[in-house]
């Protein structure tokens, strides 16, 4: 059978080859034994010559070194373009345009053994593109391919000056790749830029045995099958790869359109079924050589044009690649996980032009940076270890989306597909039955990696977006009436069951608000019959103990809201420090230090804007009454403000800061008050006068309590909670009565506005901007807001100027003139909502006085018969 095969191969010059082959197989018992017994972990994925290392110095490499090999480097005199290892020694031939050397690679370093370019002058024949060491049967042969198309054969056994055996010059352009037959020491295949591949029999004299024309542009790579004697694949610049049978030199057997752009490299899988190809489209594709499918079995996208691909020995699903440009790393990939490289080695500082697997872990490589290097891939890094396994992001509304991985794979698991150490990974020989059957079906696929990551969305309930939206829309911010604003806001908050927020508003209401005038009558009714109906009373209304109950929304009275009533109860309790701690400020402890017992006894008088001492006196008395009522009134929300304030005073809140009118100077009033001067300065002045008068009058020293600090603490508290909604709204409602520093206020406002924007609450945001007292915030409504207008006739944009555009500059027509008189309607313009025609009020009045239909003749009956304008009405 062998002979039959041989006669097939070499129909013409069979005899010599047969002799050679027979000779080698006869004597070949020894090498084949070596191979079958000593190999493992080293496939013949590489060109036959490369994979066969073993006897001699390299023999001890049969076991995968358990210890990591230190990287070694060796610098040469020129850029390197290819390398090839000797079949059985740790020698390597490296070649470049100016270099052809044999190096010996030791454990710790690399030494130069032989320089084949030493005696040869600069010659294009030696401007080398590729170098290959002969296979195990031709250990002393080296072939080089040159950029001028010459293929040189070197015999290392010859004396120094004559090592160049001969030069084959049939290719008309550069030879890109050469490949020895894995078993036939005399067969050499070359792939050239001229578009042909030639099979050389080295015994024949310089004439190629066969020329294969791919008819597909230049040939970039060519490789014999490791299992089938006759087959080889080639990669072409038009992106195809072709499978040939050397017995049929006229036509390829199969062809695949593998890549967009150049296909740069091919490599047979050691088992002979698959071929990996790499191209300038930065992809590595795995093809089933037995299948007609036009699609690759696997595809790996890399980040750079793939210049070389080599299957990793001993790992049936792994391969390594290097790049033609930009990426100076060697990556190993597992086809089962095509997106994340297994290892990456920063092997060189320049483009890597060639590399080969020496064993399952050791990679020898050469580069344009003029160095040869040996790396253990385990000394590289694993990209997977650099990749985060989880992702989390917060939504505006407090949702979290996450992708998390329970545990990263055990590193040992990653190599699970690796052949167990010591397993026999046999060489398959052309003339021997493969010991491992070829893959029978293409369905027998490498299992693809499936991420175990879990993705989920969870509402953390850390942000009540519903409440936020409702509050943003419903809060009263623009009213001048603090009392009713606070009241409104508290009710809004209560509706959302935000008790603390509601409470805050109620407190603010008590502190700053002024009860509306309607309660005045109630006040009278509830027991101050003697009281003069004094205008001033209005302004003091906040202090009246009575009337409040009726005024307050029933919801806010006892029992409606737990926290409210609880708070109230606590407020009523003397020494209710707990209330301080829990409800008012986070920094209550600091405050408590300043507690003064005196405040208990001291009568707190609220400053009031009174003009008459008489009215004032009554107020005082009334407060006294209120005091005594404390306990009784505790069950109603209608506690008097005076009492509440006193309670606060007991804790010393703000009592150290005094002498500022309690009711801010500008406390505003919705009732008109003739006597009151609205000017702030004068107002204050009058207050001061009144105060001194009061003190004299009452003969009591009354430290005035200023709630500003309390409110500021409150703001700080909300700011700390990042509740800028509260901060900004409080600032807006209280207007100038409280300032927190311009920078802070601006921060709060801007944050709030941003937050509103995130919820697409444009209207609310604009309202805030408009109401904001800070010019720097207000200006936001002006900037980057543009109204564009276009002509309603020709559609051309109108100049964006501040004067109205009565007529279009490009078509000259009037914009929206009166439908009746066809003149520009300045001033009042009325139109029919049915047909959209309109014009001067007077014109249309005149028209519709005698017609029901539109004056333009559009046919629309603008005025109903029944509502026709009686003559002369308008």
């Amino acid at each position: 059978m062998k002979k039959a095969v041989l006669s097939n191969i070499v129909p013409s010059k069979g005899s010599s080859i047969r002799q050679q082959l027979l000779g080698s197989t006869d004597s070949g018992g020894q090498p084949s034994e070596t191979a079958s017994t000593s190999r493992h972990g080293v496939g013949e994925s590489l060109t036959g010559s490369q994979s066969l290392a073993s006897t001699g110095p390299g023999g001890d490499k049969t076991a995968v070194p358990s210890t990591l090999q230190r990287p070694v480097r060796f610098r040469l005199t020129g850029a390197l373009s290819a390398l090839s290892a000797s079949p059985e020694q740790d020698w390597v031939a490296v070649a470049g345009r100016e270099v052809l050397k044999i190096l010996s690679v030791y454990d710790k370093d690399v030494k130069e053994v032989l320089n084949l370019r030493g005696g040869v002058k600069l010659n294009l024949n030696f401007s080398i593109n590729d170098v290959k060491w002969g296979n195990i049967f031709a250990k002393s042969t080296i072939a080089t391919a040159a950029t001028n198309g010459a293929v040189a054969i070197w015999d290392l056994n010859r004396p120094n000056a004559q090592k160049l055996e001969r030069i084959l010059t049939e290719h008309t352009r550069a030879v890109n790749r050469i490949n020895f037959h894995p078993t036939e020491p005399v067969l050499l295949l070359s792939a050239s830029q001229d578009g042909t591949m030639r099979l050389w029999d080295l015994r024949a004299k310089s004439i190629a045995r066969n020329a294969f024309e791919g008819k597909a542009e230049s040939v970039r790579d060519v490789q014999f099958s490791p299992t089938n004697t006759f087959e080889f694949v080639a990669a072409f610049e038009n992106g195809t790869i072709q499978k040939w049978d050397i017995r049929y030199p006229t036509q390829y057997e199969r062809k695949w359109s593998a890549h967009n752009g150049l296909a740069l490299t091919v490599d047979w899988h050691p088992e002979g079924r698959w071929v990996a190809s790499g191209g300038r489209d930065r992809q590595i594709k795995i093809w089933d050589m037995k299948s007609d499918s036009r699609k690759p079995l696997y595809a790996i996208q890399t980040i750079a044009p793939v210049s070389r691909v080599n299957w990793r020995p001993g790992h049936e699903s792994q391969l390594a690649c290097c790049a033609l440009s930009t990426d100076f790393r060697i990556h190993t990939w597992d086809v089962g996980r095509p997106y994340i490289a297994q290892h990456s080695i920063e092997a060189h500082d320049g483009v890597i032009t060639g590399f080969l697997w020496r064993d399952a872990n050791s990679i020898w490589s050469c580069s344009k940076d003029r160095t040869f290097a040996r790396h253990d891939i385990r000394t590289g890094y694993k990209p997977l270890s650099l990749l985060n396994t989880c992702a989390v992001n917060w939504n505006v509304n407090g949702d979290i989306t996450f992708a998390i991985d329970e545990r990263r794979q055990d590193p040992a698991m990653e190599d699970s597909r690796a052949m167990p150490t010591g397993s026999n990974y046999p060489l398959r020989r052309a003339f021997r039955k493969p010991m491992v059957p070829e893959r029978s079906t293409s369905d027998d696929k490498i299992p693809q990696h499936r991420p175990r990551q879990k993705v989920g969305v969870v509402d953390t309930e850390t942000f009540d977006d519903y409440a936020f939206v409702v509050l943003a829309q419903d809060y009263a911010i623009e009213s001048d009436d603090i009392w009713s604003s606070c009241q409104h806001n508290a009710e809004v908050a209560i509706d959302l069951e935000l008790h603390r927020t509601a409470q805050t508003w109620k407190i603010l209401q008590l502190l700053y608000g002024t009860e509306p005038s309607e309660s005045r009558n109630l006040t009278k009714l509830f027991g101050h019959p003697n009281k003069q109906d004094d205008h001033n009373w209005d302004r003091q209304a906040g202090n009246t103990p009575v009337g409040r109950a009726t005024d307050v929304d029933p919801q806010l009275t006892v029992g409606s809201a737990q926290s409210d009533s609880a708070l109230l109860t606590e407020m009523m309790r003397p020494n209710a420090e707990g209330w301080m701690r829990d409800y008012v400020v986070p920094h209550g402890s600091q405050r408590r230090g300043s507690l003064s017992p005196h405040h208990d006894q001291q009568e707190l008088v609220t400053e009031s804007d009174i003009d008459s001492d008489e009215g004032y006196t009554e107020e005082e008395q009334h407060d006294d009454d209120g005091d005594s009522d404390d306990s009784e009134s505790s069950f109603t929300y209608g506690l008097k403000v005076g009492a509440g304030r006193r309670t606060l005073a007991r804790f010393g809140i703000g009592t150290n800061k005094i002498l500022k009118p309690f009711y801010g100077g500008k406390s505003n009033q919705n009732q008109s008050h003739s006597k009151r001067d609205s000017s702030k300065g004068r107002h204050k002045h009058s207050q001061r006068t009144v105060k001194s008068a009061k003190v004299v009058h009452q003969d009591v020293v009354i430290p005035l309590w200023n709630p500003e600090d309390l409110v500021r603490d409150m703001l700080e508290y909300y700011a700390e909670q990042a509740n800028v909604q509260m901060c900004a709204t409080i600032l807006l409602v209280l207007k100038d009565r409280i300032r927190a520093g311009e920078e802070k206020e601006e921060l709060w406002f801007c944050s709030y506005i941003d937050l509103l924007h995130r919820f697409k609450l444009w209207t609310a945001a604009t309202a805030i901007i408009r109401a904001c007292p800070l010019a720097s915030v207000r200006v936001r409504n002006q900037e980057s807001t543009t109204l564009h207008t276009i002509c309603c006739h020709c559609g051309k944009p109108m100049p964006n100027i501040h004067t109205p555009n009565w007529a279009c500059e490009s078509c000259g027509k009037l914009q929206n003139p009166c439908s009746f008189c066809h003149k520009t309607a300045k001033g009042l313009y009325i139109w029919c909502q049915g047909c959209a025609h309109g014009g001067h009020l007077d014109c249309l009045k005149e028209w519709f006085s005698h017609s029901l239909e539109c004056c333009t003749g559009c046919g629309h009956q603008c005025v109903s018969k029944f509502f026709a304008l009686p003559r002369g009405v308008l």
Binding site: Y339, N388, T389, C390, G398, I404, D405, R407, C750, L755
Partner: protein
């Protein structure tokens, strides 16, 4: 707390980032499978619906970041393939062959994996910071916010030194989101095992200032908390050593002012400006306190992320859990919740703010 809603993104490999847009109605997921997927929230069904999926890069996509919607529907992605790409949604499919998202720009200055990107806060304009394995932080700015195809490399900050330039070094960054601070970036500095705060000084140069130390391994993520009115800044870091740390940056100057009297707030704007003038921005320094240091994850922590208001921190790591951290009073940070994909949400302690 609520159940976890499982959500099948359909990526073929690890998902490395998810990012909500400004309004929270869109989500982009990016994965090692080189695909980007944009999801829209369907308000009717409350489910995420795939808007588009496409191959975005030639290698693992590590991060995505949305630009402010003022500039349109734009986001950037960065990848192992050493590039940053800017994507914009197309309103009219006609020119793009039906594709909804087109690549507007490709920023390929990096010599190594681009590991982190983030758009600057809106008030700084359309700016993008990226950091890559070559140890350089690059800041780009879109010259024409309508075009988006021209991005000028404004600054290159060399943050890696010596050994930290190794390919497996890891860098990360986060912008200071506050509009009332000078431009600042918190940057995790590779193998130095620290994070640093870089600041744009008055000469428009980025200078390192505060150091956030104490890490025993690479800082894998850094997150600057949104500041909604606090007087201090918070920065969280995640580290390979399994710890989550929170740093508090207190502005010494402001602090001094505050100590000077509670009335400090009331000082007129002019005076405040004068104070600012006396201490040029470049010299202003923060006092750095480590306010929290948790090792609960017990495995590499990969991500830290603040919620929108900057009050709750989430961290996630190799233990497959997301933990939420929140400060109680007096700056005591506590774990308030542990989320895992399987068992739903474990509730730890108080149920957050109300």
């Amino acid at each position: 707390m609520n159940e976890v809603t499982q959500f099948s993104a359909g990526h073929e490999d690890l998902i490395h980032d998810v990012a909500y847009d400004f309004y929270g109605n869109r989500l982009v997921t990016c994965s090692s499978d080189q695909k980007l997927k944009v999801w829209d929230m369907d308000r009717q069904t409350n489910l995420w619906v795939l808007n588009d999926t496409w191959k975005g890069h030639d290698s693992s996509i590590l991060k995505a970041s949305w630009a402010h919607p003022e500039y349109g529907q734009v986001f950037a992605s960065c990848s192992f393939d050493r590039s940053v790409r800017i994507w914009e949604e197309q309103k009219h499919d006609a020119y793009t062959g039906g594709r909804k998202w087109v690549e507007k720009a490709r920023l390929a200055d990096s010599k190594g994996t681009v590991q982190d990107i983030e758009f600057a806060p809106n008030h700084l304009g359309l700016k993008l910071a990226s950091c890559s394995a070559d140890g350089i932080v690059r800041i780009y700015e879109a010259m024409d916010v309508i075009q988006l195809s021209h991005w000028t490399l404004m600054d290159e900050i060399e943050v890696g030194t010596g050994s930290s330039k190794e390919p497996d070094a890891h860098y990360c960054l986060s912008w200071c989101p506050s509009r009332f601070q000078p431009q600042m970036l918190a940057i995790g500095c590779g193998k130095e095992n620290i994070a640093k705060v870089y600041r744009l000084d008055s000469h428009n140069r980025w200078q390192p200032h505060e150091v956030l130390g104490g890490h025993n391994d690479i800082v894998t993520d850094v997150a600057w908390a949104p500041n909604m009115g606090r007087s201090y800044q918070l920065i969280a870091t995640a580290s390979k050593d399994g710890h989550v740390r929170i740093f508090k940056l207190t502005d010494e100057n402001t602090r001094g002012g505050a100590v000077g009297g509670v009335g400090g707030w009331q000082q007129p704007a002019a005076a405040a400006a004068a104070v600012a003038g006396l201490t040029p921005k470049g010299k202003k320094k923060f006092r750095v306190d480590t306010v929290a240091d948790f090792s609960d994850h017990g495995a590499e922590v990969w991500r830290v992320e603040w919620n929108v208001t900057g009050t709750i921190l989430s961290s996630s790591g190799d233990d497959g859990k997301v933990r939420l951290w929140k400060a109680s009073f007096l700056d005591e940070w506590k774990c308030i919740s542990i989320i895992s994909a399987e068992q739903g949400v474990g509730d730890y302690g108080e149920n957050a703010m109300r």
